[in-house]
Subunit: 476 residues, 2 copies
């Protein structure tokens, strides 16, 4: 049977999660591989999700006073080198343009891996007085990092993102903004993508090159691996000193600005897939889904069926609705639309029409309800809302079920080896323990959560007095 | 006086048009120069215009069935070289990445100057049957062309654009799409940006590298120079043959697809400035303006003035309205908001409030009308509509006044030398005449307009029998 073949085309996640992921990405037509090694083609179904992510994040950024700009995609080598930690972090993984037209360039240019240096250069020019502050900028663009191993959405040589960059008069304001934007990400992830996150601070080892503090939102995927889903950095005045970004304050003193940056990438589409997907394919939340409802006419050649389906679409004009009137069989359409993750399917055939009803099927639970065509608008609204809520609840449950506590190193190693998920454990603050844990288990510190707990008094690795609780885990 | 200083900061367009342009671009805060030679920073005021252009064009594209995608920004040298004319046209002006991370690349990659080759590679993979056609794709991205001389918006090494790429089963369908998209551009330019355009076909000399036919929309700037404002290309099956893009047709025969591409860039912001701007700065059309109405409170420290201004903003919530309540003087605010091109200014002070009225000032004509606060919503709507209409009328008048006819070469040379504008003249179709005209006068063929006229029987340059009427002009 054709339907069966279609579904069989994806590996089950229990059998091979990595292969399942790749299959979904391909079969849901999100991505295609390109002739450019390590770069991906984002196909219409994938890009439509990104457009909705963009629209929603952009709206939230603008509500906080952020303005969009566009910076050059190239960074001269000398500019990249101005901040020492930053260049050390990024230089090994950038792509270099050495030739322009037919000539060798006098100075090589890297393709931006991130744009702190360009924004600093810009702010150094346009910030003079406290009246010019704060500067709240963002840009939507692609960036390049020359990764050795790549995977669709999760790690590729070029990816799409937004990068926000701000400059402030005081350290307090910069810290406030860093936290504010992390909260924007967390709220977006939880309430829009139904991905619950742990908010916390990165250890010094894991923080952004050049930052004083990096905050992160960490999510747990279905296979128990962690995914860093957004970061927000406080730079203090480090970049300002390197780039000489000074302003005359109200007291007429020349002072350095305090800066932040924060970014979210197409990676979150990978998170969406790995948190909600199942063995029938992608599952999109009602809020993110480019199409929320797919109407599948049954026996569509019978008189009146397609007309009724079109009418139904009209009735549901508050939602994003499509009718699949292609000449495939209903069963094939079901499988295909399930693969694409469309939240609700509505079946309507001659018998339904006679009974003035239709059948609504939820993508996540496969639950079917029969509703009167008079109530269908309300029913669809209710189902979408319920689905959005329950998807978050399920993801939370899954994370709680896969979050463990370790109070000694044997326990820690046993959990990491046998129980995929987050491990909460105390840490002394010494990078040596982080390195040892990574060497022994491949797990890394995900974050020092804002919500701290006192699990024990000693570091899970070395046994010395503990300073902080850390979430650990294997990560993408 | 501070106000005077602000206005004096721009050169008058009669004195030095090029300097006027640069001054407006800087003073209206659209652009900043960057440390990257030939690349520009698009500042918030400039980017907000681009965002509105994007939203409107994107909506129009999608209405015609186009879907957005994202292709890699790099093109391997071997892929660029597959279509012979195309590579000859672009290779001399691309930037080459030769190093990734710390290693030399095995094959150098160019930063896309345009993406035909990538789309062809993609279509070759995903088009098998007539059922897969048409493919209607678009992407919003930046592209790089290594120009020697650059000017903000008009010519820069990196610029933003959209590039549409389509593949069709028949030559007729491809031609239809090429024309359709040129009409989308023309309609957008005329009805949204109030820029009237000549629609026509490029000569073989001026057409896109690899195209069978290039259609163009040509606009006339205030200084009488032409600006190519959007192009749409029909590729026939040339790229399909080079990239082997075949499909099984309904008759079970393997056939090559027929392709098109079409693009519009941040250049149109340059056109917007040079068609509508004046000696007080930028003038934005009501439809494109990110802010349509700026409310300037008079004697704002007096009790009730700022409250009334805020109320007025509420009343006008159908429009894009801001209140300038900064502590600058009203005169300074007037000049500054005029420089930014905001279509309407509303002045409201204690006397106005007492009389239940406000003063509306149009940016383009400086016309002032006093209206009752009870009617302000309707009045603003009317004024914006009138302004949008009249801006197009004025631009049309200007173009007609600066469009000349030449029937012999002396006349032609005289007009080009002394009367900036379009020259309509007959052409034999021989590239030698185009080259001679360019060498003698620096004018180029702008297009062979769809609306042809029979001005005389002979070529304006060589006197041989003429084939077609051509618009000629000096161009940006």
């Amino acid at each position: 049977m054709a339907e069966k073949k279609f579904v069989e085309a994806i590996t089950s996640m229990e059998e091979d999660f990595a292969q399942w992921y790749t299959d979904v990405v391909k079969k849901a037509e999100l991505i295609d591989y390109s002739s450019v090694k390590g770069c991906m083609i984002i196909k219409p179904a994938g890009y439509a999700i990104w457009e909705r992510i963009q629209a929603e994040l952009d709206r939230r950024f603008k509500e906080t006073g952020v303005e969009n700009v566009y910076m050059p995609m190239f960074i001269p080598e000398s500019l990249l080198q101005k901040e020492k930690d930053h260049v050390e972090g990024f230089a090994p993984e950038v792509a270099w343009v050495t030739q322009g037209g037919l000539e060798e360039l006098p100075e090589k240019l890297c393709v931006r891996p991130t744009s702190e240096t360009l924004f600093c250069d810009y702010y150094a020019n346009c910030v003079q007085s406290y009246r010019d502050l704060p500067k709240l900028s963002n840009q939507w663009c692609s960036v390049v990092r020359w990764e050795k191993e790549t995977r669709p959405f999760l790690r590729s040589r070029e990816f799409l993102w937004q990068e926000g960059h701000t400059a402030h008069a005081t350290a307090e304001e910069a810290e406030e903004r860093t936290v504010q934007m992390l909260n924007v990400y967390a709220d977006f992830l939880e309430n829009y993508l139904a991905i619950p996150v742990i908010k916390g601070r990165k250890t010094d080892k894991e923080k952004f090159a050049g930052a004083v503090a990096t905050y992160t939102v960490e999510a747990l995927m279905h296979d128990g691996k962690a995914l860093q889903s957004g970061t927000s950095h406080n730079f203090g005045d480090g970049f300002a000193r390197a780039f000489d970004i000074k302003f005359a304050d109200k007291d007429n003193q020349l002072k350095y600005v305090h800066q932040t940056s924060w970014g979210m990438t197409t990676r979150v589409i990978g998170a969406l897939i790995m948190v909600h997907g199942d063995n029938r394919g992608l599952v999109l939340t009602p809020k993110i889904a480019p199409t929320q409802v797919i109407i599948v006419p049954i026996m569509q050649k019978k008189e009146g069926v397609l007309e009724k389906a079109a009418q139904l679409k009209e009735t549901l004009s508050n939602f994003r609705v499509k009718v699949d009137d292609s000449d495939k069989s209903p069963g094939w359409k079901f499988s295909e639309q399930e693969m694409r993750g469309i939240p609700l399917r509505i079946e309507i055939g001659p018998k339904d029409i006679e009974a003035n009803q239709c059948v609504i099927v939820r993508r996540d639970t496969n639950e079917k309800i029969t509703v009167s065509l008079d109530d269908v608008n309300t029913a669809v609204g209710n189902e979408l809302e319920k689905m959005q809520r329950e998807m978050l609840e399920r993801a939370k449950e899954h994370r709680e079920k896969h979050t463990y506590i370790a109070t000694n190193y044997d326990e820690f190693k046993d959990i990491i080896a046998n129980k995929p998920g987050f491990v909460k454990a105390m840490w002394c603050g010494d990078e040596a323990c982080e390195l040892k844990i990574k060497a022994d288990t491949t797990a890394t510190s995900r974050c020092m959560p804002w919500e701290q707990e006192e699990l024990s008094g000693t570091c899970v690795c070395c046994g010395k007095p503990a300073k902080t609780m850390v979430y650990w885990g294997k990560a993408y």
